[in-house]
């Protein structure tokens, strides 16, 4: 089985979010970048398939040269090879088009992406990729098993979960649950050394017109101070929730 794991290079979850260039760009100054957490669950599951079933694992990113550190980390965790498509990932459709080329050229059976990236939160690339390829698609996937070309996948639904049968080739958009948090891997020294000699292929983008563009960014308005209520006066809290906040 050939697995492709799509990796977004995103600010660490604790990063301060600021904008620059007249609020048109994210300010990367002093920001640490990581593998998008939803993608990391998928990557770890892919490496499990590699170790248990001899799958090959390729990681791919659409991004600038700065994303190579994130791809190297994925290689250090255990991916076999990496591909970077040399373009800024400004639009979901454009990114999906680039990834579709990689899938077609590489003949991947299982494509794993995160259900959304923690920067743009578009939640659209995996579905668009599946639709462009004509592959089946499972979103919000919390479990995946493969037996030959038969796939059993569990997806989260509102208020529960649903078990699906599907066939390869398939695109899944994963999240926590694909593996447990405690099973995520921190690259060890051997992995880091090995990653240095693994192939990181640079591919130029194919022409695809973006369907959207980010015009500007805004920060939420500063909040007014919290109203403190004495634990001995909870009637006041109920009253405020009713008359002032109007939520009960």
């Amino acid at each position: 089985m050939k697995i492709l794991v799509c990796i977004s290079h995103v600010p660490d979850t604790t990063a301060k979010i600021n904008f620059t260039n007249n609020d048109s760009e994210f300010d990367t100054n002093g920001v640490q970048f990581v593998i998008n957490p939803n993608d990391e669950f998928g990557l770890t599951r892919a490496i499990w398939f590699k170790e248990q079933a001899g799958a090959s694992v390729t990681v791919v990113n659409v991004g600038g040269a700065d994303a190579e550190a994130t791809l190297r980390k994925a290689l250090a965790i255990g991916a076999d090879e990496a591909i970077r498509i040399n373009a800024q990932p400004t639009d979901g459709f454009f990114v999906a088009k680039q990834l579709a080329e990689v899938v077609k050229n590489g003949g991947y059976d299982l494509v794993i992406a995160g259900k959304e990236s923690l920067d743009y939160n578009g939640g659209m690339v995996p579905g668009m990729l599946a639709a462009i390829l004509g592959y089946d698609f499972v979103n919000g996937c919390i479990k995946v098993d493969v037996n030959g070309s038969d796939v059993t996948a569990v997806r989260e639904i509102d208020g529960g979960k649903e078990t699906l049968s599907a066939k390869l080739p398939l695109v899944i958009a994963g999240q926590k649950g694909l593996v447990e948090e405690k099973d995520l891997r921190i690259p060890n020294m051997r992995g880091i050394m090995a990653a240095r000699t693994k192939a990181l292929q640079l591919v130029e983008p194919t022409g695809a017109a973006p369907a959207t563009k980010a015009v500007k960014f805004e920060k939420p308005a500063p909040k007014s101070a919290v109203k403190l209520i004495s634990p001995n006066n909870l009637d006041e809290l109920v009253n405020l929730l009713h008359t002032e906040a109007k939520v009960i």
Partner: protein
């Protein structure tokens, strides 16, 4: 040319977000002098959509679509959009709708913006404001394609009643076998409990509750509110509560009317996930807990003392006001 909404239903009944979507669509239709069409799949009571501004309902009824199937549903909605020559296609942010929307966008060669939090900033050029960076910022996105697909965040617009009636028309999209290669084996759904996605009020607990055995009082408070229960990441990592209750940046997002955080300090990742909620209440013994900086109302004190008392107060209130 009309605005098309996908009015999501469960067991035949529309979700509240379907009515919010109708209200949103009606507002844009009013400004652009067009009408609102809803496509429904195995739903009953399509007249209800008329109360929120839908002019026409394309009702799909099919046994083949009894279970959710992303490809087939997307195909049906795409065909409805083509039939109506819709330039704007709207989805809610329910799980199934978010599953389908990108498929429909590709099918219609449309640009897609999700997490939209308000009416379009401008109709020409077509710009919408959306949540980004896990609710830590907004992003104004311009859709440059002829057809536009949007997914509207819950509680972004609210319900607006309209006078009018929806005309129902049966619609039979042509579906092929290729649409049905993924099949549902089984599904587990909690019944009789409010889900985090649908809840108006969410009551959430953190490590301050000291152990899973103390969740009873939180559930009592939730039931007094008619709320769903949720938890912070450490609580789900410790196995005190199931992952499905974990809310925050890497868990479920919450966009409730009221979010009550008990014994949650308010790590930046947690706040990111719940920040779309309208009103936030924090109960914590530590007055320095970061949650107090983002909350609207706060009570400093012992949760084990406050929660049962508050439960009684809410019960009393509900008894007098319902």
């Amino acid at each position: 040319m009309s605005i098309l909404i996908y009015a999501e239903s469960a067991e035949g009944k529309f979700k509240k977000t379907a009515f919010e979507l109708a209200s949103y669509a009606k507002k844009i239709a009013g400004e652009t002098g067009t009408t609102v069409t809803a496509v429904t799949i195995n739903a009953t009571n399509s007249a209800d959509l008329g109360k929120y501004g839908v002019d026409k309902v394309l009702a799909v009824t099919s046994d083949k679509l009894k279970a959710f199937n992303a490809k087939a549903y997307a195909d049906a909605i795409k065909q409805a959009a083509q039939k109506e020559s819709a330039k704007i296609v709207l989805f809610s942010s329910n799980t199934d709708s978010l599953h389908i929307a990108p498929l429909v966008a590709v099918g219609l060669e449309a640009g897609y913006a999700s997490n939209v939090v308000a009416l379009p900033v401008s109709l020409s050029p077509f710009q919408v404001k959306r949540n980004a960076f896990s609710n830590k910022a907004f992003n104004v996105t311009e859709i440059t394609t002829d057809v536009k697909v949007l997914a509207i965040g819950k509680n972004s617009f609210g319900l607006v009643e309209a006078s009018g009636a929806a005309v129902e028309e049966a619609f039979s999209p042509s579906l092929n076998d290729n649409d049905f290669t993924v099949t549902v084996q089984s599904s587990e759904k909690v019944t009789g409990k409010v889900t985090i996605a649908d809840a108006e009020v969410v009551v959430s607990g953190g490590r301050g509750l000291k152990g899973p055995e103390n969740w009873g009082m939180l559930e009592d408070l939730a039931s007094a509110f008619g709320a769903a229960t949720a938890c912070s990441k450490p609580v789900s990592d410790l196995g005190w509560r199931p992952h499905s209750e974990h809310v925050g940046q890497t868990g479920k997002p919450v966009a409730a009317n009221l979010y009550v955080a008990v014994g949650i300090s308010g790590a930046i990742q947690h706040i990111a996930g719940i920040n779309s909620s309208k009103v936030k209440v924090v109960i914590n013994s530590d007055p320095e807990a970061p949650f107090f900086k983002v909350a609207d109302y706060g009570v400093v004190g012992d949760a084990f003392d406050i929660v049962p008392k508050l439960t009684e107060k809410i019960k009393e209130f509900k008894a007098h006001n319902s």
